[in-house]
């Protein structure tokens, strides 16, 4: 956000500390999110497919469209906040504008593809579930890298 993006954090020790702890919280939340998802859906594309599309061999019913909508709607509450907070702080870094747009673009693509692919999985098939899982991991990986870079920059007073 523009307020965070336009403040020189190295000159403001209290705001710098708030941002540092916010990043620790967001990184912890993303780690917990990955663990929770691996427990709910599994850690392989086959496991994700079984939960979303069902598995007749194991008498597993596919997830209903309403349940899928509710899960995605709930997930996006936290993922959008994580994206906006880390991205707005990332604008403060000394990276080039092109790099920042690529960073924001890749993570946004992950954030949009994850729900879109899950919602269309019953028409597209297992490949959509795999893309959704990959997008979920991509989003978290990019945000974790960005968050870690921001933490280092804050600790070195480069932000």
């Amino acid at each position: 956000m523009k307020f965070i993006a336009s403040q020189k954090l190295s000159n403001n020790s209290s705001l710098r500390l708030v941002m540092l702890w916010m990043l620790i919280g967001l990184i912890a939340a993303m780690g917990l999110n990955l663990i929770a998802k691996s427990i709910d859906y599994g850690t392989s594309p086959q496991a994700w497919n079984s939960v979303i599309l069902g598995n007749p061999d194991e008498f597993q019913e596919p997830m209903s469209f309403n349940d899928l909508l509710l899960t995605i709607h709930t997930d996006l509450f936290s993922l959008v906040l994580i994206y906006i907070l880390i991205a707005s702080l990332y604008l403060r870094t000394s990276r080039s504008s092109t790099f920042k747009i690529v960073f924001l673009g890749i993570s946004l693509a992950g954030l949009i593809l994850y729900p879109l692919m899950l919602l269309t999985a019953q028409w597209i098939g297992p490949i959509a579930v795999s893309v959704a899982g990959g997008s979920f991991i991509l989003f978290h990986a990019v945000m974790l890298l960005g968050g870690s870079e921001l933490m280092i920059a804050l600790l070195r007073r480069r932000l």
Partner: protein
């Protein structure tokens, strides 16, 4: 050029909140329905705990989304100060009416089914109007 990532983020934010609104709207339409009778039927026998489980996260997320949206609006020089001051009152009042109505419906005040529907639709249109005000400036600068 220096402001380009900020414009990208503003557009991304609007797209994400819009996407989340469409998802929420679809969920509402499929599970409850957009008419006062079905809203009344859905909420009138809900427990306070059940309502809080839905209202609390929505209030939190929408408040943060409004804060971010309105703060982008406050940095938009083409918008008058009058609109910048009126928009928060309008949006937060509609949010309170929309989210608070469910408790009144559960308490037996049937009129609030109409108030919930009207405040929800007005809220969506008002938010869209604020986004158009922000978009106008951003799109002109991106061009």
């Amino acid at each position: 050029m220096r402001e380009r990532p900020l414009h990208f983020l503003a557009l991304a934010f609007i797209a994400l909140v819009l996407f989340q609104s469409v998802l929420g709207g679809t969920l509402f339409w499929r599970t409850i329905g957009f008419n006062p009778a079905s809203i009344l039927n859905h909420y009138h026998d809900k427990s306070i705990h059940g309502l809080l489980e839905v209202v609390a996260p929505h209030t939190l997320f929408i408040t943060v989304a409004l804060m971010a949206t309105l703060h982008f609006l406050s940095f938009t020089p083409t918008v008058s100060e009058k609109i910048k001051r009126a928009a928060p009152y309008l949006l937060f009042t509609l949010l309170i009416l929309d989210q608070g109505s469910v408790f009144m419906i559960a308490s037996g005040f049937e009129l609030f089914a109409y108030i919930k529907l009207a405040s929800f639709i007005l809220f969506e249109f008002s938010l869209g109007w604020v986004w158009i005000l922000i978009f106008q400036k951003t799109l002109k600068e991106l061009a």
